[in-house]
C-alpha cells in the first residue's frame, strides 16, 4: 500500500486534484471466491455456478493520470463474482455496454476487460493498481472481444472485414511459406496480439505504464458473451504458480485484484480506459 500511496500522492500533486479512491478494503467490497467442486464447469459466464457466487460492485474511475487520458469513460461500474475449485480461480465481470464492438478496423476498437493481480501478495506493500510499478510487478489478464469473435467465428479475412474486397494475388500464394513470411508483418514476428490465439485472454505482466508484455506461454482462459446490452466475461487462471510472472495463490489466501474496462464503441484502447483501485479478494479454504 505504501508504494501505491506514494504513486497516488505524486499523481494527485501533479494534477492538483485529489483522486477519488474507493474504500477498497471495506467489509462490503471484499470479493469472496467460494470453493466449488473441480468437476463443475466455470468458463461459461451463464453456468449455474455463477448464480450462487456473491456479487460485488466495483467502481471504475477515468484514466486521467498519464497521457493519453480518458477523462469521460463510458463504463464506471462493473459487477464482479469469483469462485475457485482448488486449481483454478475464475472471475466473472459483468458490465453494461449497449454497443457490441468486436471488429477491429483502422477506426473501430474492440471491447475489452482486464483483471490484475499483484504477483507478490504483500497486503502492506501493494504495487500501484495502475499496472504496477518498477520492482512491483502485476499479472494482467486481458480478455478481448475481437479475440473471442475470432474463436467463435474464425480468424478474420480481408473478405470478412471488407465484403467487396477484390485482390489479385498475395505473396503467400506465389512464394514458399518461409519466403512469404516477412509479408505477414507483425504475425511474422509472432506479435502476441497478432497471431491466432487459442484463448481470448492475453496473459501479461507489467511493472508500470507502457511496460505491459504478453507472456510467451499463456495460462489464462476465458469466455465472454454479450446479451441484451450486457457483457459477461469469465477469466480463469491457475492458482498455483512457480513463475516470477504470476501470483502463487492457494485456498484460504487473501490478496487483491483490480480491474479495467475498455468500451470499444467509445474508442477506448490502451491507456484510454476506466480502472479500479485494488479490491480485496478472499479465496475460500
Amino acid at each position: 500500500m505504501r508504494l501505491f500511496s506514494r504513486t497516488v500522492a505524486r499523481v494527485s500533486l501533479a494534477l492538483g486534484t485529489a483522486l477519488v479512491v474507493p474504500a477498497a478494503f471495506g467489509a462490503d467490497t471484499v470479493l469472496h471466491a467460494s470453493r466449488v467442486a473441480s468437476t463443475i464447469p466455470l468458463i461459461d459466464p451463464a453456468a449455474p455456478v455463477w448464480s450462487k457466487a456473491r456479487e460485488v460492485a466495483v467502481v471504475l474511475q477515468p484514466q486521467s493520470v498519464v497521457v493519453p487520458m480518458n477523462p469521460e469513460p463510458a463504463v464506471t461500474q462493473i459487477r464482479v463474482r469469483a469462485v475457485h475449485n482448488g486449481k483454478l480461480l475464475a472471475v466473472r465481470i459483468n458490465w453494461k455496454d449497449a454497443t457490441r464492438s468486436e471488429t477491429v478496423l483502422s477506426d473501430t476498437f474492440g471491447d475489452q476487460v482486464a483483471v490484475e493481480f499483484p504477483i507478490r501478495a504483500d497486503p502492506a506493500d501493494l504495487p500501484s493498481p495502475m499496472m504496477g510499478n518498477a520492482g512491483a510487478p502485476v499479472n494482467i489478464l486481458q480478455w478481448r472481444a475481437a479475440l473471442q469473435h475470432d474463436l467463435d467465428y474464425g480468424d478474420p479475412s480481408v473478405r470478412t472485414l471488407y465484403s467487396n474486397a477484390e485482390v489479385d494475388v498475395y505473396p503467400d500464394q506465389l512464394l514458399p511459406a518461409a519466403v512469404a513470411r516477412p509479408y505477414q508483418g507483425a504475425m511474422a514476428v509472432d506479435n502476441p496480439v497478432s497471431r491466432p490465439m487459442r484463448t481470448p485472454v492475453l496473459d501479461q505482466v507489467a511493472e508500470g505504464w507502457g511496460t505491459l508484455t504478453t507472456k510467451a506461454q499463456s495460462r489464462a482462459e476465458g469466455r465472454g458473451v454479450w446479451h441484451n446490452g450486457v457483457w459477461s466475461v469469465v477469466i480463469t487462471l491457475p492458482l498455483a504458480s512457480t513463475s516470477q510472472d504470476a501470483p502463487n495463490l492457494r485456498p484460504g489466501q487473501k490478496t487483491s485484484v483490480a480491474f479495467a474496462v475498455w468500451e470499444g464503441g467509445h474508442r477506448e484502447v490502451g491507456s484510454r480506459k476506466s480502472w479500479s483501485d485494488w479490491t480485496a479478494i478472499e479465496l475460500a479454504k
Binding site: S64, V66, V67, P68, M69, N70, P71, V104, L105, S106, D107, T108, A146, P156, S157, V158, L161, A165, V167, Y170, P171, Y183, Q184, G185, A186, M187, A188, V189, D190, N191, V193, S194, W209, G210, L212, R267, V269, G270, S271
Partner: protein, 375 residues
C-alpha cells in the same frame, strides 16, 4: 514535455522527449517541378513492402494531386483546420506547433482518419472542374494550377508518432534517424495513426498492429537509396543524409540543396516535427499557397531555383538526382562533370553537365534498314 530546438521553425519548442539528434539523419529531396505522378515510386514501394493481407489500401509512398488531392482523404486540411490560423511568414514561427496545441490529456493535436478516408486514393483528383476565362494566357504563377506531391514518412527529427505511443514501441534509430514501429511490441492502439499529421502510420486490420514506411532500412544499411528513389523515372529524388544546419557540409549534395542553396523546403514545418523529406517547390504555383505548405522562404527558394544555371555546384547537385542507386555522401564539380562519391570516398557516378550528342546515319548498312533519329 522537454524543450527542443527545431531549426525549421527557428526556435525552441515543446516535445514529449529530450532532443537527441541521431548520428546521421535519413534525408530525401524531391523536385516537385519534375514529378508527373506516374506512380512508379508507389508501385515500387508497394511491391517491395506492402503486398500482404491487410495492406491493400496501405501506401507508405503515395503521390497525390495538390491542392485537391489527399491520401488519406483531407489529411492536411483536416489538421490545418484543427490547428487554426497561424502566422507562417517570418523565419521564426510564432504560431503553435501540434505539440504546443495538444489538448489536455493528449500528447499532440491529432485526429484518427475514418477507415473510408483511405479507400479511394487518387480517384477524381485530376478531373477538370472548370474552364479558363476568355482571354486567359499563360503566365507565372499560373492562373489555373495544380501539382503532384509524392509523400513518404518524413522520418522526422521530432516524430509525433513516436511522441504519441504510450508504450514506446516506436523508436528513432541513432545510426540513421529512421523511425520504426517495433512489430513485436506494438499493440495497435493507433495513437501513432492519430498523432502523425502526415498520416504515414497505418493500421493493419489483419495483424491488428500499426505499420509505417521503414525508409528501406535494409537498403540504406548497405549504402543503397530507397526503392521509391531509385525507381523514379523522372529522376526527381535524391536520398541520402541531411545534416542539422550548423553541421551542413557543402560537399553533401542534400546539404547543398537544403542548407546552402536553400531551394528545398520541409512539408508543413509549422507542425513542429522537423520532417526530413524536403521539396523543391513548383515554380508555377502561387507563393501564398506554397508558404502555407512549405513555410517561409519559399519565394527565395523559387528564385534561386530559377537562377540555378548561375550556380554550378547547385546544378552539380541537381544532376545527381536519379544518377545512381547508391547513396552519395560527397560530391564535387570537376570540369564539365559532377562526381558523386560514397562514404569511403570511392567514386559512384560521374554525370556530364551537358549530355553529349550522338549522331548516326539514318540507313543501317549492317541490317539494311532505316532508323529515325530521336532526340
Amino acid at each position: 514535455m522537454s524543450k527542443v530546438y527545431n531549426w525549421q521553425i527557428g526556435r525552441q519548442m515543446e516535445y514529449p522527449y529530450e532532443g537527441v539528434r541521431p548520428r546521421r539523419q535519413f534525408g530525401l529531396v524531391m523536385d516537385l517541378n519534375k514529378c508527373i505522378a506516374c506512380q512508379t515510386c508507389t508501385v515500387a514501394c508497394k511491391t517491395t513492402w506492402t503486398p500482404g493481407r491487410g495492406q491493400e489500401y496501405m501506401f507508405w509512398n503515395n503521390v497525390e494531386s495538390k491542392p485537391y488531392g489527399y491520401y488519406p482523404l483531407g489529411w492536411d486540411v483536416n489538421i490545418l483546420e484543427k490547428l487554426g490560423v497561424q502566422e507562417v511568414s517570418g523565419p521564426v514561427y510564432s504560431g503553435k506547433t501540434l505539440f504546443e496545441a495538444a489538448p489536455d490529456g493528449e500528447p499532440v493535436l491529432g485526429y484518427l482518419p475514418d477507415d473510408l478516408d483511405y479507400a479511394h486514393p487518387n480517384i477524381g483528383e485530376d478531373d477538370s472542374v472548370g474552364d479558363m476565362t476568355r482571354g486567359a494566357y499563360l503566365q507565372a504563377p499560373h492562373l489555373q494550377w495544380m501539382y503532384y506531391l509524392p509523400r513518404i514518412c518524413n522520418h522526422c527529427t521530432y516524430p509525433a508518432c513516436l511522441g504519441s505511443c504510450p508504450r514506446q514501441s516506436i523508436y528513432k534509430r541513432p545510426e540513421d534517424g529512421i523511425v520504426l514501429i517495433d512489430q513485436r511490441r506494438c499493440r495497435g492502439y493507433r495513437e501513432c495513426v492519430k498523432g502523425c499529421p502526415y498520416k504515414k502510420s497505418f493500421f493493419n486490420p489483419m495483424t491488428r498492429v500499426s505499420e509505417k514506411c521503414i525508409g528501406c532500412y535494409p537498403a540504406v544499411e548497405s549504402g543503397r537509396q530507397t526503392q521509391c528513389t531509385i525507381t523514379c523515372i523522372g529522376k526527381i529524388r535524391l536520398q541520402g543524409f541531411v545534416s542539422a544546419p550548423d553541421e551542413a557540409r557543402e560537399d553533401n549534395p542534400i546539404d547543398y540543396v537544403v542548407h546552402v542553396a536553400k531551394i528545398a523546403r520541409p512539408l508543413y514545418p509549422q507542425f513542429g516535427l522537423e520532417p526530413n523529406v524536403y521539396y523543391i517547390p513548383p515554380v508555377h504555383v502561387p507563393p501564398s499557397f506554397l508558404a502555407q505548405m512549405f513555410g517561409a522562404g519559399v519565394e527565395q527558394a523559387i528564385a534561386t531555383y530559377r537562377a540555378a544555371s548561375q550556380d554550378r555546384k547547385l546544378i552539380g547537385a541537381l544532376l545527381l538526382f536519379g544518377a545512381t542507386p547508391q547513396i552519395i555522401h560527397h560530391y564535387r564539380v570537376e570540369g564539365s562533370f559532377t562526381i558523386g562519391y560514397d562514404d569511403s570516398g570511392a567514386e559512384l557516378v560521374r554525370v556530364p553537365f551537358k549530355e553529349p550528342i550522338f549522331m548516326r546515319v539514318a540507313f543501317d548498312e549492317k541490317y539494311q534498314t532505316r532508323r529515325s533519329n530521336m532526340t
